[in-house]
Symmetry: C2
Subunit: 178 residues, 2 copies
Amino acid sequence: MDLTERFVSREEKFSGRILTVHVDTVTLPDGSLAMREVADHPGGVAIVALDDENNVLMVEQFRYVFNEPVLEIPAGKLEKGEDPYLAALRELKEETGATPGFFQPLGKLYPSPGCYGETLHLFLAKNLTFGEAKPDEDEFLRSERIPLEVLLQRILRNEIADAKTVAGVLKAKLYLNI
Amino acid sequence: MDLTERFVSREEKFSGRILTVHVDTVTLPDGSLAMREVADHPGGVAIVALDDENNVLMVEQFRYVFNEPVLEIPAGKLEKGEDPYLAALRELKEETGATPGFFQPLGKLYPSPGCYGETLHLFLAKNLTFGEAKPDEDEFLRSERIPLEVLLQRILRNEIADAKTVAGVLKAKLYLNI
């Protein structure tokens, strides 16, 4: 069975600095019509960065959406037309001061493919050297290093809610076989 | 340093059947003002379900947002006021026909805490018995069982983009130590 849903028409609902929202009418595989609400996002990058002692570089920042500080791997939005690889290097440097000697893609993630158009590009960084962190002016965050084993225990205790952090750290663990 | 951002005012931008969008003005820790675009979502559930041979129950469905079929663990939105535990049992049964003898929470995920208000409740299901699947009328999906080892290889080859699937399957693996 072909599962494809086909575009029929679009109503634009909101255009912000980050998000754009539209409601599309589509045809389902049986020919019937349905509505699809979509919040589009420019995409982002996130970096699992491990120092030579297998500490994971983490940042804690206040997430207004959930009204709480959230512990996450370094991440950021893509600027228009920006290359994810370069964006990830930039975000890592800005948020943690780290520059990696080893840096490679670790796949893409769809954070919530039902309604949210964000694609997140994951990277793995190792062989780190450290300079000065320079967060954006309106970015207030705490940077820390957490031993991988401690972070795994925190994931198991359901203390890490950020999806890219759970997915990224566990994927890096699987990839590095550590 | 207190990282808290405080609500000042709100502009409602869109109210759909699933998403509601608003732009809030907030005060940052240094007292300056900033705008926060938020797409709110009712929340959801997702289930890592393993049969007695450690096959993972997966569903493939067309994700209009990305214009492609996406392979995912069973999942669904919360109805208003619905208990996540019961919702997860319902979704698992509807999408795969499975009823678990062992069922427990595996923590919550924030799929994209920057702008997206969805909280996803993860569950682990085992000791499955199978009846008839009954997807929603407008839900067209293919259900399949994939051996855990095969799924891990597909994750490593960057073939699994759905964040809840990468996070959930790898967390279940860590939890069950398999």
